[in-house]
Symmetry: C2
Subunit: 184 residues, 2 copies
DNA sequence: ATGGGCATGTAAGTAGTTACATGATTTA
DNA sequence: TAAATCATGTAACTACTTACATGCCCAT
């Protein structure tokens, strides 16, 4: 199967920070890009093969038998800059939470309230994670740090917005019960 | 191809508000669920066929030859409530903007600034759209209105967060240029 | 009578996940 | 020495988009 440009970008980008194995690359993507990007093994390994064929990365035998470290080549750096320069194509949105709330009348007010509370809890967790990432970054004066900070800040703003929305949504659902009480 | 539960939910949900044609359903989805959900014709028509086979919706001949209006059946309403009750499965994130900013050192500070400005402009447009939707909803006292309002508020909070982030990100990029001026 | 919007549907292609198969190395 | 973890890779499947083919109906 053809490897998408998006996946090439993520893989080349990861290797532009430091050479590593496919396995390590996946862990890096999960841990540092995780809040806004995902790649599975089924994407990463074919992408590594394709990029190697094209001379954009090089395979160097690693300490461990059967494993190899991949490093970006000069041609790969050029290609990465090209890929990054292309306009981001907005992914089609698919928010299961909002879909359920939209049809909330069918689902019932209590279930909606539970969904909102869950979302709020997840946002609190995310916010804590983002604050942790930011604290880690404060000690990092590497050339990539300010750009990584940009993405962490986006996560923080997004999480805070989710929390604020959840509070407003809860108040709104409370008002709904007050306005239409159960028949006595 | 099998039709996914997510698509069934969106289609049954749409028809739970009012009966309509597949074409109208797609327009409804684009216009009212558009900021958090998307379905293409290639999903909607197979979904309508499948749901009809299962007795969850009924096809009624429409005024126009060759077209038909679909209405949800009692069995369909039950199935919809079941589907809505399932836990939302979080879609794997794919944010092309943040991916580019993360590797911003490769892309260059000026291009990053442009990306942030674009994102800000898009967020302003979204915010205006959400405010418009909210104004429309103020006149609607239907039973679905408060639930729809929940989703519009989510859009508003999200758009405002994007704008606030873009401002902070721009300041941060400005500081970057001041700290590392071009060699004279 | 014709062009544009309404309407239905399918085929081909794209993208991505999950599960599996395999084996090396480390650690308890 | 057994279990956990590191590591690579593929096959089958699922989901979704795009482009195309077709035709109706209304307004000009």
């Amino acid at each position: 199967m053809a490897v998408s440009e998006q996946t090439r970008m993520a893989v080349l980008g990861g290797l532009s920070i430091t050479p590593m194995t496919g396995y390590a690359l996946r862990e890096q993507i999960r841990d540092t890009l995780g809040h806004f990007w995902a790649e599975s093994f089924g994407q990463i390994y074919p992408a590594l093969s394709a990029l190697e064929r094209e001379g954009l990365i090089e395979r160097q035998p690693a300490a461990r038998a059967g494993s190899s470290t991949f490093a970006i080549t000069p041609a790969g750096s050029i290609r990465l800059r090209e890929l990054l320069s292309e306009a981001p194509q907005p992914a089609q949105p698919r928010n299961g939470l909002l879909l359920r709330l939209f049809f909330g009348r069918q689902l019932g007010e209590a279930a909606c309230r539970a969904l909102v509370q869950d979302a709020r809890a997840r946002a609190e967790t995310d916010l804590a994670r983002m604050r942790g990432l930011r604290a880690e970054l404060r000690g990092d004066i590497g050339p990539d740090a300010p750009f990584i900070l940009l993405t962490v800040l986006a996560g923080e703003h997004s999480a805070r917005a989710s929390i604020a929305w959840a509070e407003e949504a809860t108040r709104l659902l409370d008002g709904l019960v007050a306005a239409e009480p159960e028949p006595s």
